[in-house]
Symmetry: C2
Subunit: 385 residues, 2 copies
Amino acid sequence: MSEFNLEQFPISSEDKKRLDALHDALTEKSEKLLGYPSNLIYNYSDLYRFFAFSINNIGDPFKESLYGINTRAFEYEVISFFAKLYHASKDNYWGYVTNGGTEGNMYGLYLARESLPKGIIYFSQDAHYGVIKLARVLGISSITVKSQKNGEIDYEDLEKNIKTHQEPPIILATISTTLRGATDRVEKIVDILHRNAIEEFYIHCDAALGGMILPFVDHAPIFDFRMPIGSISVSGHKMIGSPIPCGIVIAYKENVDRVQRHIEFLDIHDTTLSGSRNGHSVLFLWYAIQRFGIQGFQKMIASCLDITKYAVERLKEISWDAYAQDFSITVVMKRPSEKLAKKWQLAVEKDIAHLLIMPHVSKKQIDAFIEDLKQERLPLEISEP
Amino acid sequence: MSEFNLEQFPISSEDKKRLDALHDALTEKSEKLLGYPSNLIYNYSDLYRFFAFSINNIGDPFKESLYGINTRAFEYEVISFFAKLYHASKDNYWGYVTNGGTEGNMYGLYLARESLPKGIIYFSQDAHYGVIKLARVLGISSITVKSQKNGEIDYEDLEKNIKTHQEPPIILATISTTLRGATDRVEKIVDILHRNAIEEFYIHCDAALGGMILPFVDHAPIFDFRMPIGSISVSGHKMIGSPIPCGIVIAYKENVDRVQRHIEFLDIHDTTLSGSRNGHSVLFLWYAIQRFGIQGFQKMIASCLDITKYAVERLKEISWDAYAQDFSITVVMKRPSEKLAKKWQLAVEKDIAHLLIMPHVSKKQIDAFIEDLKQERLPLEISEP
C-alpha cells in the first residue's frame, strides 16, 4: 500500500452525472451511425479488467523489453495474422500495431523516403485527406494525380506525371477510398512502372478500409505482398471494430532495418514511430482475430456486401441516385439535407454523401433511413383539399 | 439488431485461459515496478463502460465534428487545465491530447520547422532517445549538445554551437531527463539567445515527466509560457497515470494556424498529427484532473518527493551510491545485478540505474528493494564456522 492514498480524492457526484450524461449521448449517437467506417458491433467486456494495468508495448514488438507490463506476445500474433493475410514472405517482414491508419501511412511513407530520399509521392485526388499532411510533415514533394469518375486513380494521368519527372516514384495506392469506396489497382500501377523501365520505386498501400474487405472476397484485386509493394497500413477500428482508434502496419524488413537504431538504455529497438505504445488495442485486435478467424471475417464481409446491395436497391426504389462499386461497402448517394446528414452522421462532400455498411448496420436501419428520406420529399405545406 | 450475429463467434476457453494467464503476469509485473515513470495507482473502473463505444475525437478538439461519438468537450477541458497550469495566454493557445510524449514532441518540432524552415535543433545528450528519430523523420538538422555531469544541458557548449551556426536555433529543453531527472533551465537558454541578439528561435519543452512535477513545487524552475517558448509536451500516463499511453501538447495558436488546413469532407480542421484520435485517454485525464485538481496533484508530488528522499537515505545507509536532484523523483544509483534490474524493472545505462518514485511506490517497497540489494552483497558461500 502506497503512502499516497487515492481514496482521499473521491470523484464528485456532479462529475459522475456528467459521465452519465456522456454515456447517454454516446449511446444515442451510436444508434444512428450510417456514414462512418466504424464497426460498432463488438463486445470486449472480457478485456475491461486489463484497464487496471499500465500496459506499454514500448519499442519493437519483435524484441523483448525490460518493461514487463506489456502485451508484446499478443502483438506479435496480431502482426503474424496480417502478414499471412497479406502474403508477406516468412522472415522478411516487420510490423506493429499503430494508433490508426494515419500512423501506418506515415510509417510507410517514412520508409519510402529513407529508401528513396529524392522520391516524389504520387496519390490520387481521392486519397485520404491526411496524406497531403504526411507528405508535408515528412518533407516529401508530392503530386496529386487525377481520379477517374469512380474515385479510382487515373492511370493515364499517373503515367504522364511519372514520365515527366526524373525522381523515383513513391506511389500511395488507396485500397477503398474514403468517399467512393474505389480501389486503385496495384497491378496497373506496376504495369506502368515496368512499361517505363522504372526500377527504383516504392508502393505503399493505404488499405485502411479495404485491407479488411478485399482479402475476404473472391476475385478481388490484389494489393498485397504478392505485388512488389513496400508496405501496407490497415485500420483496426474500422472493419474489425475497436473502441480506440488503432491499426496495423506491415513492411519489408530490409527497409525497416535501415531506420533502426538500438537503444541500450531501454534495451529496445526504436523501430516504431511512437515511443510508448498502446498495448490494449493489441488485445482488442487479438480478441477479434481469435473469435472470428478467416472464416468469421469472410461471413462478416459477405453480410456487409449483402446489405450494401440491399441499401442501393432501396435507394433506387425511391429514385434516389445511388451506387456501390464492386468489393465495396460504400454506398455513394445524392446528398440529403443537413438535418438528415446530422441525424444519421453521414460524411458529405459537395453534392454527394455516403453510407458505410459496416457490420452494425441492419436492414431495419436502412429502412428507417429510407423512411426519413421519403419524408423529406413530402411537400412542406399541404394545401387544404 | 444487425443481420451479423456476434454470438455465432464465441471466444474459446483456451483463449480465455490465455487472457487469465496474461492477467496474472501483468498483476505480478505491476507489483514490482521501481524503474519506470508510470504511476500505477489509479482506479478508472467508473470509465470501463465507455469501452462499449467507438469514441473518436478525429480532427481539432476546438471545433465540432459530424462524427458524434466523441469526447471533445472533455478534451477541451483537459487542454484548458494544462493551458492554465502552463500560463498560456487566454485565446492564444491550442492543444490536443496525444498518444504520448513522442507525438507531442513531434508536433512541437513540426511547428518549429514550419516556423523556421532552415532551423537546426539543439538538444542535450541526455534528451530522450526518441528526439533524434523525430529530427530524422522531420528532416531537420540536429546538433547534440554536451550534458553536464548531472544531466542538465551544458550551456557553454550550447552557446558555442549556436554561435557557430547561422541558421535559427530550435532548442528542445528537457524538463526532467529520462536518466538523471535533470531539468534544462529555460531561463538560461533564453539568456544565451538574448546575449547573442538572436531574434528568430523556437523553444520546445519536452516536459514528459517534469511537466507534472515542477508546477506543483515551490521555487521550481520556470519552463512554461511565461518564457518565450513555442510549445510544451507532457505525458499523461507518467505522473497522472493512465492505462493507455497518452499526453498533452500545448502550443501557440499562431504557429498552429500556419499548418492548418480545413477539410470540408469531414467538417474538421486537420490540425493534429493523427487522423482518428483516442477519446478514451481524454476521459482518463479528465477524471484524474477532476478528482485531484491542483491541490491533489500538489499532495501527490509532495508525497513522491518525500519518498524519494527516503529512498536516497536508505541507499546511503547501506553505502550504495545514490542521489536525487532538486525537484526530481528520480533516484540515480549504482547499477545492481541484471537479476535485480529485471526483478524490479529498472532502466539501466552503463554503470547506473535509476528508481522512479511514482505515486504507487511505497516505503515498504523501497525497504524490500534495499533488502534485495543487501542480500546480493552477502558472500555467495559462507565458510563453515
